[in-house]
Amino acid sequence: MTVHITATAASPARTVPRGLVPASVVVGGTLISLIGLTWDIQWHSDVGPDTFFTLPHLFLYAGSAISGLASLAVVLLTTASSKRGRAVDPMIGGRAVGVFGRTFAAPVGYLISGIGAALFLVYGLWDQWWHGLYGFDAVIDSPPHIGLLLSISITMVGAVMIFAVARDQRWGTYGVAAAAGTLLAFSMVTVLGLRALPGGLVNTVNVGSAFFSVMILFMGAYVLSRRGGALAVGVVVAVLQAVFWWFSPWATEVYADATGLPLRDYADGIPGLPNMIPMSLILVAVAVELLRGLPAWIPGAVGGVIITACAPLQRMLVQGSNFPALERYVATVAAGAVLGALAGMLGRRFGLMLRHLAPAKEHSHA
């Protein structure tokens, strides 16, 4: 185990690429968090009764704990290596930075994923206090819940950074697509916090979904910087959406049966989290691939328009909702175009920044 995690210059023969094990544990933890979230949302809409220790909640806690402990292990092992004067391999989570002076040497990717997990604990206490004051509210977009979701998102950003370092290797490429796709799907819940903003005519949640999906899609595409990069992230999100579409209502019903609880009257069984993910994202990914040669703001704006224009159609298709008032629809699509353009530019820049994490031979792979 130590051999794979620490970055010694002269490693013995190995069967698993160096760095793959801890990176997989971190991204695996984030996936467990995502599974817990989709299950928990479905539980509240279809069944209801809640305690601190429901299985979906345990998945949420376990996801951050797994990612956090793996990050901590890497930081401690890197620190130990560094103190013994051994060379630290920057391929494992990026260059090591000093924490608390030079007390710890932390690879930057693992530092970020670990900070996210530590924040999750702090916001767990904040959430506990909140529930004491406001009751056991099942409101996904309460301030402490958004704090918890943002903390998990930071761990997910750390996971993207860890894999971005190894992007020149096959496992790094797949890892970037998986970690970025997980972050994108998860962010579609975090944007519900935007309901707290006064949007006027604009549907702030739809525009927020468009902004974050375009930005993360571009980020993944520019980290990978190869044809099919955006499509890979889009496919990961589509697979997560399809699997959760089946899993969320199924797991909820199985867990309700196991605990002897009935489904709510009028429970519609519509998958909650998967339905927050824009089905049109795959179209955006295709558009980004086709418009590759153009400045990033153009495909970004196209992506923003596609997502905001299709969001009400998805709701009509899945929930049988009514089409929104025309002026609200037009204002939302216009805001989607502007913020999509910005997201395209930002996502491109973030992707290029992430490429800098690697001890890259830029001439060998562009």
Binding site: V47, G48, P49, D50, T51, F52, F53, T54, L55, L58, I112, I115, G116, L119, Y123, W126, W130, L133, Y134, G135, F136, D137, A138, V139, P143, P144, I146, G147, L150, S151, S153, I154, V157, A196, T259, L261, P262, R264, D265, Y266, R349, F350, L352, M353, H356
Partner: protein, 172 residues
């Protein structure tokens, strides 16, 4: 390897062992009731906390005098005179013999109205619980709560700004 597997199994057993007894859900404790006459139906509205405060979640129960069998209906909420939402009257998940709303919060302070449209063997009837006073939310102002809760976002933005400045020359 064997030790790791045993350790994992032990952890899983411990988690599930702890989870099962903890799944005893809180009963619905009605501490205050109001009466509403919806045509031929006497409804008793129960509240699990009283007085009601904005954003504070509680259990509401809606109990017709002779039970809910053979009856159905709709609950419509109004804040002042503005309709907030309507939904079919559904059984309370933790008190299945009556209708209700579980861990539900009214979002804003002010005067709320609950309108019940009930249909059953004795025909249809409508009744309202008027002047339900919802007090100010407890706890810190929402601005402060949001400021505390979005610290991770601003931390992430700060990280991005630092990374942006450090890579400015090389990216272009």
């Amino acid at each position: 390897m064997r030790k790791t597997l045993l350790g994992l199994l032990g952890t899983a057993a411990l988690l599930f062992g702890l989870t099962t007894p903890a799944l005893a859900f809180e009963p619905v404790n009605v501490v205050h009731t109001e009466k509403v006459q919806a045509g031929p139906y006497d409804l008793t509205i129960g509240f699990s906390t009283w007085p009601v405060k904005a954003m504070q979640s509680l259990d509401f129960t809606f109990a017709p005098e002779n039970g809910i069998d053979g009856k159905k209906g709709t609950l419509t909420l109004f804040r002042g005179s503005v309709e907030s939402e309507d939904s079919p009257l559904a059984r309370h998940p933790r008190k299945r013999e009556v209708w209700g709303l579980d861990i539900f919060a009214l979002p804003e302070p002010g005067t709320w109205t609950m309108r019940f449209d009930v249909d059953g063997p004795a025909g249809a009837g409508t009744g309202e619980l008027k002047n339900l006073q919802v007090m100010e939310q407890p706890g810190p102002p929402m601005g402060l709560s949001w400021a505390i809760s979005t610290i991770p976002l601003f931390g992430l933005i700060a990280l991005i700004v630092v990374a942006w400045r450090r890579t400015r020359v090389t990216v272009h």
